[in-house]
Symmetry: C2
Subunit: 333 residues, 2 copies
């Protein structure tokens, strides 16, 4: 049965030289030595990068091992670069979108793309989005959970979401520079382990309480990491909403109803949690997400779905049907 992985990432093999005006921009470079590729940002080591991040042929081989037929490919979130001046962001983002398109064109049946837009300037983001959707392979864009600290549910981004609805774009939300670093005790990887899920819960809540979901009912949003901690937050948000006039004023419909209009990937690393998500958000809302090719990616994405005690109809929805609706793919199988 066809399986679509909605959550995979891309890093280009190298980056153009910085040609802008900033004196110390947070601009990426790839430092290669033998088989090692280290990505630096603003001259500081960010992370070792695997060739599967850019190598389409290698990806296709590894997809076969995972029984994934099609990957939706989005930039490594750090590349969203909301901290750059808009001219620099347009330059870097344009390069990344070009490289994403090349990946798609290397195997059009295997790779669909979610590009990047300079959300630090919502008007420019709208312009780039409109142009991007006319290019082969692009179904929409990936965005972060916040833009330089401003949550995506803030009204300043309404024009972007209005355009995404109008242009029929798919929007994939990924955690970025999470809250709560000051509350962690231990190694830096805890930012990804604990910070990301909570960051995601705040971002989704802001989409509900800021009115994005209510104002753009045809907008298609998919949240990464199973919505992070949002499944745990939602019943409490629902209860407090039922008791709080100010919150009812901020959002008319119940949080639970609004939450069920969003898609969520299944990257929760646990069968019981996946079953719980199906109940909380709906069997028509969950799509495959693996975080391929990063080190913490789920190597057996079909295993957790096959282990579910659900009908073949629901399994088909989880494997590809929900993803096709999120991506507005109309092909027959």
């Amino acid at each position: 049965m066809r399986a679509i992985d909605v959550h995979t990432h891309f890093v280009p093999a190298d980056f153009p030289r910085y040609l802008g005006k900033a004196t110390s921009p947070r601009w990426p470079t790839m430092v290669c030595s033998g088989a090692s590729h280290i990505m630096e940002i603003g001259g500081e080591k960010f992370r070792a990068i695997q060739p599967a991040s850019w190598d389409g042929a290698l990806r296709v081989t590894q997809m076969a091992g995972q029984r994934i037929e099609q990957q939706v490919v989005s930039p490594m979130p750090e590349l969203l670069s909301y901290w750059l001046d808009v001219d620099d962001a347009l330059s870097l983002g344009g390069y990344i979108n070009d490289k994403l398109q090349e990946l798609h064109e290397s195997a059009p049946n295997k790779f669909l793309c979610l590009g990047t837009v300079p959300l630090q300037d919502p008007k420019e983001a709208v312009r780039v989005l409109q142009a991007l959707l006319k290019r082969p392979g692009f179904r929409g864009v990936e965005i972060g959970t916040h833009v330089n600290g401003v949550p995506i549910g803030d009204p300043r981004f309404n024009e972007f979401f209005a355009a995404a609805q109008e242009f029929n774009a798919s929007i994939f939300v990924h955690a970025l520079h999470p809250i709560g670093g000051e509350r962690l005790v231990g190694p830096a990887v805890l930012q990804a382990a604990v910070g990301y899920p909570c960051e995601m819960a705040f971002a989704i809540s802001s989409l509900l309480t800021g009115g994005v979901i209510a104002q753009y009912p045809n907008l298609r949003i998919c949240c990464s990491h199973g919505g992070g901690a949002f499944a745990s937050v939602l019943p409490r948000l629902e209860w407090i909403w039922s008791k709080s006039e100010p919150l009812q004023k901020a959002m008319n419909a119940s949080p639970r109803a609004a939450a069920r209009s969003i898609y969520y990937d299944d990257l929760v690393y646990d069968g019981a949690t996946l079953r719980h998500l199906l109940g909380v958000f709906g069997e028509d809302r969950i799509v495959i997400g693996t975080d391929y090719p990063f080190i913490i990616h789920d190597p057996n994405p079909l295993g957790s779905i096959e282990a579910l005690d659900v009908s073949d109809h629901v399994k088909a929805a989880l494997l590809h049907g929900n993803a096709k609706r999120f991506l507005d793919i109309k092909d027959p199988n």
Copy 2:
């Protein structure tokens, strides 16, 4: 069947005048006008307070309506007052502990107490804890998720947790001044709705990754609000732990195993989420918590337990057996 509510709060009917040396301390006062009681902190309105917050007879009547036989009563978290100088904290905390004892003595079979200690000075906190446990009605203390921004899993609090284990104290962890306020879009109540569960997830993670759970295996900790978002965070933390040497160095045992040595209340406002918690943390780990008498309290705490498809043995554990273990209550029924 006997039911013990581990999560109820207390506010005294009034507060002593401030007699310390600070020029503008964040000291509480109660401003009464007719039936209205407004608590102020440092001269600013904090919240309207209901008489059930201090009135034992009223509490006993309302407990009968909830079918709760025994309440464990802890201070409203804002009263923990970690921001006060230690002398002021000793004065305010001493007053609150005295008033809690009076509540217990008004109906010793109905009220058990979790007091407050000045955790901004761990040595003083140890001294106060030791004395408190010799007083009638006290089983331990409530603590916040952090002390002026320092998470409770930070090693500076190890001497407190060592003493809590040595003195056989029950420790109830409650969210306080949560992370992520800058990521909320909407009314202030979202701090409680979204911030509290995520704050709790960070605090529990810090107890695991900072080594508290591993170092004090006989320590009895109970976390409020079902551990907040921690149930959603745990499988991801477990997966990343299995891949990350630095995290394995920080914590030897698996996060999942460590999480199952903590108690969690069942204040999640949702049957499906409660069932999920039983699977994640264990049927021997969940206790009743209502947030009584605050406005968002669960008015029907037994309803969600009775609705579970579990054995009478498990129901008894949820109603009182687990609470008795957390509180080290040895009476026969």
